[in-house]
Symmetry: C2
Subunit: 184 residues, 2 copies
DNA sequence: ACCATCTGGTTGAACCGTCAACCAGCTGCG
DNA sequence: CGCAGCTGGTTGACGGTTCAACCAGATGGT
């Protein structure tokens, strides 16, 4: 990482911020995952897959589009869909226009599972995040996250690696506002 | 989860904050982990273990204390130490005063590995976090994280589960300021 | 002293994610 | 056309985390 000469160590105030961030984000993630696992028996990343599918036309999406939408690598998504197929929540259909391609389709059972999971998930997000912060803090947090995303998205997408061209789609997706309500 | 009657869905501004937070924290974590994996061939959680040990008297710590310090479950730590032992970076020694207990000790090789890993890790943290945010944003972020921790730490520790009594120790540890410099 | 109980720590299976290798189908250019 | 190279997607090995079950040593009450 552009390893200069002498490392710019963190001063004590910086260290405080750093530790607080590490602890808070890790605990918050773990808590949300734990709640979701308890109430819906699925990891958050699978929940996201179901949400994205539920909000797409025909409740169906190309694998690559779904990978971008859920910020997951193609490999991860492939494994995830395999698992969701086992559960009967998603089906794979080959794409007519491009014979390499595949579409993931949400089944009725999958939609039902999502509807069942959503209320307690949203409650969990409220409890652990929104209910804790003041309106000003929420506004600040949004600014901070947007700033970080401006830095991170180009890096990730330039590493052509798995997720391609997330930038515009991600930016776009941050506005239309979907998520957390299974059907709009 | 105190699942009330009708779920309090997120409004569109809340959804924006939520998505921004999910994207930003996930990408930031992944980027930091990736950098550390590339430069030091270890996951962040192992790095934390080495740091905590390096800053303890005799570079040694009881397993349970180490688990608390690194916010990890006893099980996770046990597996981690097993791996670090294979690498020759940590040794397990039975505790003289309590024969159930075990101490983890950082070996010279482990200390060297940490010294080698630290500069580029700290650079990575600066690049992706500190260099991106203004001083005000950093102050806000600290407040936000502290607030979330006030909420989360009691929950986690009350679930007597793995990590015991993290609260005071964690709170205390957030001040003395350690981390990221292998030797103060 | 005795037994129940708690605490410190380990173990193994199941699961999710990553990485690198791979295959198949599309695309462009000589 | 023919072949190189790209793209969409899958696969399998590997590594780390979780969860539940478990063992051994400490503790406390009677």
């Amino acid at each position: 990482m552009a390893k200069g000469k002498s490392p710019r160590w963190l001063d004590s105030e910086e260290r405080r911020v750093w530790l607080a961030w590490v602890f808070a984000t890790r605990l918050l993630w773990e808590e949300l995952e734990r709640d979701l696992q308890r109430d819906a028996a699925m990891p958050f990343s699978y929940y996201e897959v179901l949400v994205m599918l539920s909000e797409s036309p025909d409740r169906s999406l190309r694998m690559s589009a779904l990978a971008d939408a859920t910020q997951s690598s193609r490999s991860r998504l492939s494994h995830a869909i395999a698992r969701l197929e086992e559960l009967g929540w998603v089906e794979r259909r080959s794409c007519p226009t491009d014979r390499r391609g595949a579409n993931a389709v949400l089944t009725p059972a999958g939609f039902a599972a999502l509807e069942a999971a959503a209320p307690s998930h949203v409650e969990s997000v409220r409890e652990h995040l929104f209910d804790q912060l003041s309106p000003e803090q929420l506004a600040q947090l949004r600014e901070i996250c947007d700033t970080l995303l401006d830095h991170l998205l180009p890096i990730v997408s330039s590493r052509g690696d798995a997720r391609t061209q997330i930038i515009e789609r991600a930016r776009a997706r941050l506005d239309p506002a979907l998520e957390d309500a299974p059907a709009g």
